[in-house]
Symmetry: C2
Subunit: 248 residues, 2 copies
Amino acid sequence: MPVEIFPVKGLPEVRPGHDITAAIAHCVRTSGPQVLQHDIFVVAQKIVSKAEGRVVRLAEVTPSQRALAWAEAWSKDARVVELVLRETKRVVRMERGLIIAETHHGFVCANAGVDVSNADEGTAILLPQNPDESARALQARLSAAFECHLGVIVSDTFGRAWREGLVNVALGVAGLSPLIDYRGRTDANGRPLHATVIAIADELAAAAELVMRKSERIPVAIVRGVAVESRSGSGAELIRAAEKDLFR
Amino acid sequence: MPVEIFPVKGLPEVRPGHDITAAIAHCVRTSGPQVLQHDIFVVAQKIVSKAEGRVVRLAEVTPSQRALAWAEAWSKDARVVELVLRETKRVVRMERGLIIAETHHGFVCANAGVDVSNADEGTAILLPQNPDESARALQARLSAAFECHLGVIVSDTFGRAWREGLVNVALGVAGLSPLIDYRGRTDANGRPLHATVIAIADELAAAAELVMRKSERIPVAIVRGVAVESRSGSGAELIRAAEKDLFR
């Protein structure tokens, strides 16, 4: 059996307070595949953030001196810069007009995940306050709705060091283990595999992005047929601890 | 139609000089799916390297003083360290027993891609000399064998800054564009999308890894149903130029 990735189409525009579990379940029942045990739902952070009210009116943001200076120097919107700095626990790089920040959650990404694309005019969208909690709530409710054990990944597209382009990664994870640890197992020749831990949740998020096209409205995909440990892990496990990280 | 990812099973152990195109074609014809126009073959670097003879007998490697000192300090095999240093254009980090290196190709990865797992006892496998050339050769020959326009990605699992676990990425690419550029396109609200270039070849490699399990012998997968530009791009396009990179 191949691995299959199904786009979930037809979701309405999400607003603060919307019940996205109900909306996703409705779309899947209407036009999606039959949901099976251990299917993994990958849900774009943007609709989770919107439903959770993580939308800020820029008119209500008063930029600090630091935000004003940076915005002036690099022709940015000072209110957006202010939001980026507020979402930042630690600045990793701030140069050439780019802000690579460690967020309060520990994610390292451009602009601390603050985004004005796919947002209404005059607003910005922040990352969910706790993507693992968002994933756990979706996982419990979708599993109940479809009477299956499902996995849920809340994803966003992040840039990387050293490589061009963004890839979709897992911010929040529930209902599956985000890592597969091959250490202690042996390769095809019976030799121990070295330091091989695969970030399966990030690979699942990347795979889902193949059907979640940015410019269309497909913020959810279902990945089927991937053997994962269904112990409930978390997206936080994918964050390298600062003291182990050579690049912060 | 969902995106589908098929494992290619039954490949023999690859040795230097083996014709892997013929071996892959044979396996797919015997037990794989019917190959379709625009299918993308993701091929693990390891079998490409082996077929191209990028296998080194450690007994024939004489470590330099630098390799001996590092190996001594961190309980490593000095001959493997020597190979890592030879494959390195620039050391990005060399601390706590880890070597993060920029290879001669420009990839930034642990140990310059030198690997002793899945290698015969007493040998190490190097990355292909030119993964794009490897991909182009496979792409031309597989496309001819199946009378289709196919895409080919030569992949390897790399670690990342800031995040735990490895993910599969594209080293060599042929028959497709490795990046999708959404800049200039608009989002669902008609607003321009910002700085959104997706590394689709890396997402395809990650998706393929979902069926290419490390400890089994599945070094090839076929990804079907992803709309990519079929102009022939290269894996080199995925390497961020050193002068644009904030983390080297």
